[in-house]
């Protein structure tokens, strides 16, 4: 009992929540874009942009608020670029591949040109402070879990909840319609391009804040490939959540905690952590297969959930028409 309790220390829970934060913000961005009918694979690029711009702004201004705002704006601009490309009819997958590579290389190039050095840029800055919630913080176990993070952690979870609520209202419903059937949405008088542009801009900003969390919120340094694939994990997490706003938090938590669990496993035992890290990815593959299969079946049965009771099987369609 004791070793197990030791293993699930409050430290591990804490780091799990922290590792979840950038993934969650990226996953919201990815889900928001998908819901607007755009497959956004440039989350990684936007995170890197946010991470770099955020740290540069922090170094220049000394204010964490300015840094996060700058990161958000830079990410939103990148999202706007993508929205413009989408309007032009650009193949966004190719565009996103280019953007990812551009963000990865250009950030390092600018870092080296502007600040010298080769591998890591460590400016003399103060990162975001942790916030202790007065009452909840003193509860033994829950306090450790819920309190003592920096503002971006709370912001990420608040954004996920806000996103869920947003889907309960008219614009959210419109967005849902656009993602499912852009043609029908346009015919119903919804301004599809405007929604798509807004979604992509917001997604860019959110993903960039996720990247800024790494530099401005946690580490206070920038290195090549800072995000380390967090953008791709975020896309995967959004897929695991089937792009449903309500599922984004649990899906991101699964990825974040599997990382934390793996780190803990590595430091306390000799077991390879790969199994734990693989789990969420394999779960996503299963979900993708399941969702795809259901969609395929739905297409085969013309959208009916299942064949009507007593109806004939497809090989004999004549009897079924006779029955009805």
């Amino acid at each position: 009992m004791d070793p197990i309790a030791n293993f699930f220390s409050s430290e591990m829970l804490h780091s799990g929540i922290r590792l979840t934060t950038p993934i969650l913000l990226g996953a919201i961005a990815s889900a928001l874009s998908s819901r607007a009918g755009v497959l956004n694979l440039a989350i990684e690029a936007k995170m890197l942009v946010g991470a770099f711009v955020g740290l540069v702004a922090l170094d220049a201004s000394g204010s964490t608020f300015t840094a996060i705002l700058a990161a958000f704006l830079a990410g939103a601009a990148t999202g706007g670029l993508m929205a413009g490309a989408h309007r032009l009819g650009v193949d966004l997958i190719v565009f996103a591949i280019g953007l990812n590579m551009l963000a990865l290389e250009l950030s390092v190039y600018l870092m080296r040109v502007l600040f010298g050095g080769t591998g890591v840029w460590t400016p003399d800055v103060e990162t975001l402070g942790d916030i202790d919630i007065p009452l909840i913080g003193s509860i033994p176990f829950l306090g450790d879990l819920l309190s003592g993070y920096n503002i971006l952690v709370y912001l990420a979870f608040a954004a996920a909840i806000a996103f869920t609520l947003f889907f309960r209202y008219r614009p959210g419903r419109h967005l849902l319609a656009i993602g499912e059937a852009p043609g029908a949405a346009a015919a119903a008088g919804i301004a599809v391009p405007r929604y798509q542009t807004t979604s992509l801009v917001m997604a860019g900003g959110l993903a960039a804040v996720g990247g800024a969390f790494l530099t401005v919120g946690e580490l206070g340094l920038f290195a090549r490939g800072m995000t380390d694939g967090a953008g791709w994990i975020a896309v995967t997490a959004a897929l695991l959540a089937m792009n449903r706003p309500g599922f984004l938090i649990p899906a991101s938590l699964l990825f974040g905690f599997s990382d934390a669990f793996a780190i803990r496993l590595q430091s306390t035992t000799d077991l390879p952590q790969v199994v734990v890290q693989l789990l969420p990815f394999l779960a996503t593959l299963v979900v993708l297969g399941f969702v795809g299969y259901r969609a395929m079946r739905a297409a085969a049965t013309l959208g009916m959930p299942k064949r009507p009771r007593g109806a004939a099987r497809p090989p004999q369609p004549a009897t079924s028409t006779a029955g009805t």
Binding site: L39, L41, A85, L88, G89, V90, D91, I93, V94, F95, I97, G98, L99, M101, L102, L104, E105, L106, V108, Y109, R112, V113, G229, W232, I233, V235, T236, L239, P272, V274, Q277, L278, F281, L282, T284, L285, L288, G289, F290, V291, G292, Y293, A295, M296, A299
Partner: protein, 385 residues
């Protein structure tokens, strides 16, 4: 020449033939313009960081295409290009079947792992050993390559997304394998054993390791071109990608064609990994997935999804990379990331230009059509009935 002849023979009836040449020029101009734009922006970036873009350009070209007795940069470009050509060909093969899989990175890694295991674990004679290693690499790559196709065809899942997840899975697995089961005993850092001498590819230039790797790569360019352009299988998979309804109605087994394309594309990317291992690195390190697969995909896009275009783009890729490291960074002190930045800009510009050129083509053909109608109306106003 030929088109001119054609339009002569067809007299004044069908003078629209020469449009094909115009279209070809437009098609070629997309990547070429993108390269020029990217170079201009790259030059601007270099200029803003306080260096002369002209000097930088000259340095890149010099260092990418110079060859001194001691160290031949051209040879480095070719050795860098060899695995890249394979991932490019793999990407072209898969994309031409209408399967947007970007799993080349993972296929490359599995190919490398397969080759290294065969390379040090199986005692085989010279010559046979390297062939077996490459076959193992091909099988490994193919096994990974088929998975997205299976997900797409039998489960209706988006193959692009599946291939992205597979890349992540393989990255974790590679790190695990290199750190635990395959780790060299007593090694200070995480890498596998070194492949046997018998498994290594022949080398012409020891300094740059130029050898059979580029020869095999060049041979495969021709093989893949023959396969795609001249074989039944190639035709089937191209039709499955370009016009799947047509392919099905004419009795082709499109599912089989797509799965075959995915397997062959994966095999090519896998061989790329294998070639890198038995021709260059001789072992797999944690961090073997260095973007060669992704760069192959981008070279395929830059090359307009054609075999020779893609191969040229792969060569351009490695020339710029080598020029940026050996020229800009070492000679001029400009960070080498500028090379990859320019390459990324090329991809962005190509993707943006494609729809613009399509619009231009549409506009031009409309204008041409209108002019043609007007001309005919002016020539024979009585030809009503």
């Amino acid at each position: 020449m030929q088109t001119a002849l054609h339009s002569d023979q067809a007299t004044q009836e069908v003078p629209v033939k020469d449009l094909d040449v115009a279209r070809l020029v437009q098609r070629v101009s997309v990547p070429v313009l993108a390269v020029i734009f990217a170079l201009v922006v790259g030059g601007f970036l270099i200029a803003t960081s306080g260096y002369s873009p002209g000097d930088a350009f000259v340095t890149v070209v010099q260092s990418a295409f110079s060859c001194s007795p001691g160290y031949c940069n051209v040879a480095t470009v070719l050795t860098t290009a060899a695995p890249l050509i394979f991932t490019t060909l793999g990407a072209i093969l898969v994309l031409s079947a209408g399967l947007f899989s970007i799993g080349q990175e993972g296929q490359y890694a599995v190919g490398g792992l397969a080759a290294v295991v065969v390379g040090y674990a199986l005692p085989l004679p010279d010559g046979v050993h390297s062939v077996v290693a490459l076959v193992a690499a091909a099988i490994g790559g193919a096994a990974v390559g088929v998975i997205p196709a299976i997900f797409r065809i039998f489960l209706g899942a988006n193959e692009l997304i599946v291939s992205i997840i597979l890349n992540s899975v393989i990255m974790l697995l590679l790190s695990f394998l290199v750190n635990y089961p395959l780790r060299q005993a007593g090694g200070s850092t995480s890498y596998t054993n070194v492949v046997d001498e018998s498994a290594r590819l022949a080398i012409f230039d020891p300094a740059t390791k130029l050898g059979m790797n580029i020869v095999i790569a060049l041979a495969f360019i021709v093989i893949v071109w023959l396969y795609l352009a001249r074989s039944t299988w190639g035709y089937e998979q191209r039709m499955a990608g370009a016009a799947s309804a047509f392919a099905r109605y004419s009795g082709m087994r499109t599912r089989a064609a797509v799965i075959r394309a995915a397997a062959l594309g994966g095999a090519l990317a896998g061989i790329g990994g294998g070639i890198q291992v038995i021709g260059m690195n001789y072992r797999v390190i944690d961090g073997f997935m260095d973007g060669t697969g992704f760069n192959g995909l981008t070279a395929a896009i830059l090359g307009g999804m054609t075999v020779f275009g893609g191969a040229l783009a792969a060569l351009l890729f490695s020339a710029i990379m080598v020029g940026a490291v050996n020229g800009l960074q070492i000679v001029m002190g400009i960070p080498r990331e500028i090379g990859a930045t320019v390459l990324a800009l090329m991809i962005v510009f190509v993707s943006v230009q494609t729809p613009l050129v399509e619009r231009l083509e549409l506009w031009l053909s409309k204008k041409r059509g209108a002019a043609e109608i007007a001309r005919r109306a002016a020539e024979s106003p009585v030809a009503e009935g």
